[in-house]
């Protein structure tokens, strides 16, 4: 089986605080992997090491290796800009730019030096269609993205991310600020997207994890307690702590 991401013995520190401990996990290509676990256990910190967003934090230190398609992403020769193009990210709170809907989706293409107007237009349309947003916004592409609803904004952020054709999409609680209908739309979208992308999603919603993901990893206090097929993890967990968590006995 092909792995897109291989994490081995990852340890992360913010100053002295040991946030992630001996994390080893492999992420399969074109599958959805859920990360679950109580608040503060390090899920966000983990996915932010995958696109090197933690580099922005001065106190961040790490050991271990993270391979993307076999290449070490923390190799000094790696260009972070290229990496983030390959590993896209959708944030918890929708964060469109205060620009037009079109410019939001075109943003990634433009910063990567694409000038061809027809190409950009086509790609914007395709991305919006893929994000299931096209029909709602096709009449107002030049209007500000800030005028969209929260759910629409989040789908726009997904469109913006897929427009640059990443290989991996990281989603950090992408539905936690959304209503149930918008959440369903995003979940449908995730099902569709997994054909083309490898998706890692952080969620606090157990049902969501079972609905969208093939694999699940359970984080606790900076460690992965258990990971594997979602069905197995939720139906017959190996670890007592996993069982306690998914049955709501703590966290």
């Amino acid at each position: 089986m092909d792995y897109r991401i291989e994490v081995e013995d990852l340890n992360v520190y913010f100053d002295e605080a040991h946030i992630l401990k001996d994390i080893s996990i492999n992420i399969k290509k074109n599958r959805v992997t859920s990360l679950i676990g109580p608040s503060g256990c390090g899920k966000s910190t983990f996915i932010r090491t995958l696109n090197r967003m933690n580099d922005l934090i001065d106190s961040f230190k790490m050991t271990g290796t993270i391979l993307l398609d076999g290449g070490d992403i923390y190799d000094p020769k790696v260009d972070v800009v290229d990496l983030r193009k390959k590993v896209g990210m959708v944030f918890q709170k929708p964060n469109p730019f205060p620009k037009s809907i079109f410019d939001n989706v075109a943003y990634g293409l433009r910063i990567h030096g694409i000038k061809d107007k027809d190409f950009i237009e086509k790609r914007v349309e395709d991305s919006l269609k893929e994000a299931a947003l096209w029909d709602e916004v096709k009449e107002k592409l030049d209007k500000s993205a800030m005028g969209l609803s929260g759910g629409q904004q989040q789908r726009l952020c997904i469109a913006r991310t897929i427009a640059v054709e990443p290989e991996v999409i990281l989603m950090d609680e992408p539905c936690s600020a959304l209503d149930p209908i918008s959440t369903t739309k995003i979940e449908d979208l995730i099902h569709k997207l997994k054909e083309d992308f490898t998706i890692i999603i952080v969620t606090h919603n157990m049902q969501q994890a079972t609905r969208v993901s093939k694999y699940t990893a359970f984080f606790l206090n900076g460690e992965i307690v258990e990971s594997g097929l979602t069905d197995k993890l939720f139906i017959e967990p190996e670890d007592k702590r996993t069982e306690d968590y998914i049955t709501g006995r703590f966290g």
């Binding site: 696109n51 967003m53 922005l56 001065d58 800009v81 290229d82 990496l83 983030r84 193009k85 896209g88 990210m89 944030f91 709170k93 964060n95 469109p96 730019f97 205060p98 620009k99 943003y107 990634g108 433009r110 910063i111 990567h112 209007k143 500000s144 993205a145 800030m146 005028g147 969209l148 952020c157 913006r160 991310t161 640059v164």
Partner: protein, 282 residues
Amino acid sequence: MNRIISPKNAQKIMKGVFWASGIVTIIILLIIIGYILIKGLPVINLEFLLENPIDSGKSGGIAPMIVSTLIITFIAVFVATPIGVGAAVFIEEYTKENILVKLIRLGSETLASIPSIVFGLFGLAFFVIYLHMGWSLFSGGIVLAFMALPTILQVSEVSIIAVPRSYAEGSLALGGSKWQTIYRVILPAAVPGITTGVILGMARAMSEAAAILFVVGSALAMPLSIFDPGRPLPLHLYVLATEGISLDNAYGTAAVLVLLILIITVVTNTVVERYSKKMMGR
């Protein structure tokens, strides 16, 4: 309970006090502007605006003064804006609180508290005498740029800080470089605030007489280039009033200056508001 004033009454009294302070501010503003406009507007006509002064300004118009003011203001804004915004970007995005940042802040605060006449003296010593540039609007514009700089820097800094961090994260996560993020996301979002700073700085520069007193010369003729001497409106006003040439024309000049600042402020605010509305989709 024997409070002298009940909380409810205290609330009423304080509300009255704040309300009164607000009203007093407005009244003072109205009195000053009203007085100047009442005295000055009757003097203003097409001839006053479009012609050269006659007899040192006893009669004729103030066209060269309007042009001088526009030139030095433009130079001041043109020079101070990139420096002020650039310094603000540097402080907020490229460095942490360190000695250099403290020095820049201290420098900017000191610059803001230097009396304008001292700027004038510096302009005289540096441009006119040391650089042998003679009197010129260009030198005046540069001196005014120094005066406008602190305001532009401080307001730009605040505006940049006010841009949500999530915008920058969105850009970086798409593979944007730091500079692309600043240039394409942070600055456009900060433009409304920065513009306010530029306008404030500009208004300060525009109404300054003391700072340019020794720098621009006091020529009455129409300036033909930015290196010509000139006589901006505040300076003309000062000369007209202190040398007893014509108090009426001094009021007329003051009114033109006030209206000019008012027009620029209102027009810019309108444009900025449109921009913000479009940007935020309201």
